[in-house]
């Protein structure tokens, strides 16, 4: 058998395996969607029905009145948007300073910041909780928002790496032209690192949107909770009545925005992850 033919057969076998694998990866999510459009009887049908006879989107209108879903979405948006917008600004400004400006103790300060990612969150969560409760921020979104304003060390690290490929001469030239340091940042540096910033911003946004431990510590009142807590509560209260279509419909709603963001920005996200892994 010629090598070309052998390769083609292997490719075909690999393709079949990958397809089977892909089915396993996506099937649970399809099942989630399928359950959400079923009637209660179909949910417990044996053998399982993938495409129910009566497709009903009723649960998708019902969920809005069954729990604080809308406020959950808006709370998640408030946290994620405010943190990523301001946090991205402070992070990229710091990344610029760490990679392009000269100052005493630069590497030491960076290493110190970077070492902080080694501290597991469970170690910090108890004193942080006490700190925020002493200023009366418990059961508000502030404990989830304010720390993010101070930047994200992963983003700083990533952008700093990215900036090393940009020649210093651009900055020197701008200095000679009389640009201030802040002008250099927003006129030259920021436009150059925009694609990297965008990818990191999306990843950070997703991380905040999907966060659970932070919100569960701080948010008690249902109308203050973020989306992830709201759907977890849906699960806790409606599982007893086995209203699975309702729970699954809420879960689909929690999942869909990020799925859309991912499909739109998949190229940037995938590249960004690949780079951070290979470099890390």
């Amino acid at each position: 058998m010629s090598e070309k033919k052998k390769n083609r057969i292997t490719d075909a076998v690999v393709f079949i395996f990958l397809s089977f694998g892909a089915i396993f990866m996506v099937a649970p999510l399809l099942w989630m969607f399928s359950t959400s459009i079923k009637t209660r009887e179909d949910v417990f049908a044996l053998p399982p029905v993938w495409i129910p006879d009566t497709i009903s989107f009723a649960k998708y209108s019902e969920i809005w009145s069954m729990g604080p879903l809308l406020s959950g979405i808006s709370n998640s948006l408030i946290v994620a948007v405010s943190v990523t917008v301001i946090g991205t600004f402070t992070s990229s400004l710091a990344a610029f300073a760490f990679s392009k400006l000269h100052f005493n103790g630069k590497n030491k300060i960076f290493m110190m910041l970077f070492a902080s990612v080694m501290i597991p969150y469970p170690v910090l969560m108890i004193p942080q909780f006490i700190m925020f409760s002493s200023v009366g921020w418990v059961d508000t979104l502030l404990p989830l928002i304010i720390p993010g304003f101070f930047g994200n060390i992963f983003m700083i690290f990533f952008l700093r790496q990215f900036l090393t490929s940009i020649p210093n001469s651009i900055i020197e030239a701008a200095k000679i032209d009389g640009c201030s340091y802040f002008q250099i940042f927003y006129k030259i540096i920021f436009p150059l690192i925009k694609p990297a910033v965008a990818a990191q911003l999306i990843l950070w946004f997703m991380g905040i949107w999907n966060d659970y431990l932070g919100p569960i510590l701080y948010l008690n009142s249902p109308e203050k909770q973020t989306l992830q807590l709201v759907i977890a509560n849906f699960n806790a209260s409606y599982a007893i009545q086995s209203d699975y279509p309702l729970i699954m419909a809420a879960s689909v709603v929690a999942l869909l925005p990020m799925l859309i963001v991912f499909i739109v920005f998949q190229k940037q996200i995938i590249e960004s992850i690949a780079i951070s892994g290979v470099k890390g």
Binding site: P28, P47, I126, A236, I263, Q266, G277
Partner: protein, 296 residues
């Protein structure tokens, strides 16, 4: 010379201004809590008033606490998913690296669980593991296997969580490997072929060593993440599972701190966990150092 130093001073001033936010954030949200946590671990801190120094009592109690051992054991047990995920992800990456049609679509499909919210995924799998109507047992029934009630059973609850974790993380690990594989120069394989190496040999002597930094990165980050597993436990087994068999350390810390208000005791446990993560990471770095030396 004088002007240069003046310029340098201006630059330095701006630089400090630009890095001020993360540095202040580090001090307020990492340094102060860390010191507080260490101090709190040596007290009978209950969150209300009393915070008396009690020496090593908390730590002694931690190591006498059977629930601590249980949750630690569960946490480590559930890390069995890491090697399984690594092997599967590497195989997948090798398959995708052949450049077959549909590579891009596969990449996206395998990655979808990664971006999905862990709370929603936990709810989905909780339902999938339902003993009577769950998808998993329905699937097993095709092969005539009667599946257990996964999450209600001490012997199946951890494997169930592992399977879910592997499913959730596979796409991410695969992507990292794929990127690493694509950076291996093709000429290496061509040279090996000329020397008469078969496919397995080029995998063993070229691919594996070349993706080693990524493997190392994956192992370190997965262990750090795995040691802090919480959400899936909290959503799927809100009481810590049958006989506390799925409770993780973070779950136990969370219960002690915010359920029982034993903040000092919980801080001590958190520090033990932190130290555990630190030591594991340090060991891995040492091993990695030694191996890369041998490679040269």
């Amino acid at each position: 010379m004088k002007t240069t130093s003046k310029l340098y001073r201006t630059e330095q001033r701006y630089a400090y201004l630009f890095i001020a936010a993360p540095v202040i954030g580090f001090l307020i949200f990492a340094m102060v809590p860390l010191i507080y946590s260490i101090y709190g671990a040596f007290t009978n801190w209950d969150g209300l008033g009393s915070m008396d120094f009690i020496g090593l009592e908390n730590f002694i109690n931690v190591f006498k606490d059977e629930y601590f051992y249980k949750s630690m054991f569960n946490t480590i047990y559930m890390m069995l998913g890491i090697p399984i995920g690594i092997v599967l992800a590497l195989l997948l990456a090798l398959a995708l690296n052949r450049g077959i049609p549909g590579t891009n679509t596969f990449r996206v499909l395998y990655y979808i669980p990664v971006i999905s919210s862990i709370a929603a995924i936990s709810i989905l799998w909780q339902w999938a593991y339902n003993g009577d109507y769950g998808l998993v047992n329905q699937f097993l029934a095709i092969f005539g296997i009667e599946g257990p009630n996964w999450l209600q059973n001490t012997s199946t609850v951890k494997p169930a969580l592992i399977i879910m974790a592997v499913w959730k993380g596979l796409g991410y690990t695969m992507l990292l490997y794929l990127a690493a594989l694509q950076s291996v120069p093709k000429s290496f394989y061509e040279a090996a072929k000329l020397d008469g190496a078969n496919a397995f040999k080029s995998f063993w002597y070229i691919t594996l060593p070349m993706v080693k930094p990524v493997t190392f990165f994956i192992i370190v980050t997965n262990i750090i993440g795995g040691a802090q597993i919480f959400t899936e436990i909290n959503v799927m087994t809100p009481t810590g599972g049958p006989e506390y068999s799925s409770a993780s350390v973070v779950f136990y810390i969370w219960q002690k701190a915010f359920g029982n208000f034993q903040l000092g005791y919980a801080s001590a446990m958190a520090l033990v966990l932190g130290l555990f993560i630190f030591i594991i990471t340090l060991i891995q770095f040492k091993i990695n150092e030694k191996n890369s030396f041998e490679l040269d």
